[in-house]
């Protein structure tokens, strides 16, 4: 069943905190839920579909649904790491189109910053029940180590440079300087990034995203209910999700699941990458943005480094305004999961609610896209295309 035209984004909320030692994870989820419902002009009693991922207390949708005392008829606890919430948008759109729910709530929250989590550099020991664990856990692999190898391989195959990777961070900082809530507001230069210490070769500290507490929430609904609310019309016109597996040991580290999730979303929306006015692309590391831009079709494979150079991602300067909230690289990466903030900034742009300094004029089509988790060399991936009516 197509998601097209049925699901409208009624409410969005990005938690303002970046450091919340005095709040529990359920409290943060609840504050995000209420925030997005208030934005929509709805309340908890209106919600009849609830979606969350592995960050939710208890690891599934039941515990937060109980905490919020939701009277739902549709539950979804799909765990696909940082892109879960983009997959949830597609699931919610399908459920709304099928009449299975009419007001869908998606929440994310967590507090890695106040719990002192060294997200990117610590050995990944979680998930010892995963089937690849006996073959990988010995090697103390880290997220930065995996993306370090992606970057090295991309540089080897396509001639991508460290300076081109630095452009991604510099572009994010150009946007973050206007975001009073961004964790990293300092306007960065190429030299700042190039001179930052190496974390896992060739990835430097400033190639990495920030670590923040917080969360976000989205409310999706039917066209009929959306018309009865006072928010601008933003609807889901295309979506896709996939897992890019390790392919039995034959995967290509320079490629991402964006090839499939992006193609599916563009096909359903009936548009081309060149039609996109604004793009939110998950930026856990600078190289991840370069690889996804290629795989989404914004440029030829291997040309992502050249594409991001010279400010091409900076709103008002380049051809593709991207992550205008400062993204995960500078603004916010709640619970190490960037999917929901990508969707939120895309909706802000379509509503005309982004910061005036970064607002894209006449923004009509926006993309939110990103990967989730690392599975034996692969990852999950999801993409959503929104349209303002």
């Amino acid at each position: 069943m197509s998601t097209q035209k049925h699901a409208h984004v009624a409410g969005i909320f990005e938690h303002p905190t970046r450091f919340a030692p005095d709040k529990s994870v359920p409290q943060l989820h609840a504050e995000c839920a209420v925030g997005a419902l208030r934005d929509a002009g709805l309340s908890l009693s209106d919600v009849d579909g609830y979606f969350c991922a592995g960050d939710a207390p208890g690891g599934g949708p039941l515990w937060m649904a109980d905490y919020l005392n939701l009277k739902v008829r549709w539950l979804d606890g799909t765990e696909a790491g940082g892109c879960s919430y983009l997959a949830h948008i597609q699931h919610a759109a399908v459920a709304i189109a099928a009449g299975r729910c009419s007001i869908a709530l998606i929440t994310l929250a967590g507090k890695p910053r106040s719990s002192g989590m060294a997200t990117g550099t610590m050995p990944q020991t979680a998930g010892s029940d995963r089937p690849e664990a006996p073959w990988t856990s010995t090697y103390r692999w880290s997220i930065a180590g995996i993306y370090g190898m992606c970057a090295q391989r991309h540089m080897h195959q396509y001639g991508t440079t460290l300076e081109q990777m630095a452009w991604v961070k510099v572009s994010a900082s150009h946007h973050a300087q206007y975001n009073t809530r961004a964790l990293l507001r300092k306007l960065l230069t190429i030299d700042d990034v190039m001179d930052s210490p190496v974390i896992s070769d060739p990835i430097r500290r400033l190639d990495c995203c920030v670590i923040t507490d917080g969360g976000g929430a989205l409310v999706l609904t039917t066209p009929e209910i959306a018309r009865s609310l006072s928010r601008p019309f933003v609807r889901v016109i295309g979506a896709g999700q996939t897992i890019y597996t390790n392919d039995g040991g034959y995967c290509d580290l320079t490629r991402t699941g964006a090839e499939r999730s992006g193609a599916a979303a563009f096909r359903e929306a009936g548009i081309m990458p060149s039609d996109i006015d604004y793009a939110s692309i998950y930026d856990n590391f600078t190289i991840a943005v370069i690889m996804q831009l290629e795989d989404l079709g914004f440029c030829e494979k291997g040309r992502g480094g050249a594409f991001v150079a010279d400010g091409n991602l900076i709103s008002g300067v380049g051809k593709l305004p991207w992550n205008t909230d400062g993204g995960g690289l500078c603004n916010n990466h709640p619970m190490n999961r960037g999917g929901i903030t990508k969707a939120i900034e895309a909706v802000r742009q379509l509503r005309g609610e982004a910061h005036p300094a970064v607002q894209v004029k006449n923004c009509r089509l926006a993309l939110a896209s990103g990967p989730g988790l690392v599975t034996g060399g692969g990852h999950a991936h999801a993409s959503v295309i929104f349209e303002r009516n």
Partner: protein, 135 residues
């Protein structure tokens, strides 16, 4: 359970116990042999080892002794690890690539495509695991 780690074997390792179908691999590893799951249907080796072939779906897979040789696909010096290590993917001569460490070489001396060969080292959990060094 023997509290002395130096005498632990894979028989006590929770991850080896959780995957009884991989026992043959750990036994061979103790003797320095790298076993690869190879498919009777499509003839290809895969990694990580599974009971079905992820390349064609056949359940007719068997362990075969691999050459233990390959080339470096990618590597990254994890400078924040304690102790630091050189994480790598090695493309085995049989085809698939596996996660490992490159040992006995400085990261700055390594290159993508460089030839490497396996050496098994005991892990804290009791399993012997494949590590690679330059040849």
């Amino acid at each position: 359970m023997n509290p002395d780690k130096s005498t632990l074997t894979f028989e006590q390792d929770p991850l080896a116990i959780a995957y009884p179908e991989s026992r043959e691999f750990w036994v061979a590893a103790e003797m320095g042999n790298l076993l690869l799951k190879t498919c009777d249907e499509c003839g290809r080796a895969h990694w990580y080892p599974r009971t079905l072939c992820p390349l064609c779906g056949s359940e007719r897979t068997q362990w075969k002794v691999g050459s233990g040789t390959g080339t470096i696909y990618a590597f990254s010096r994890s400078r924040r690890m304690d102790p630091p290590c050189t994480l790598a993917y090695v493309t085995l001569s049989e085809g698939p690539m596996l996660m490992t460490h490159i040992v006995d070489a400085r990261a700055e001396d390594l290159k993508i495509g460089q030839a490497v060969s396996v050496q098994f080292r005991p892990t804290a959990e009791g399993r012997a695991m494949p590590f690679f060094s330059t040849v």
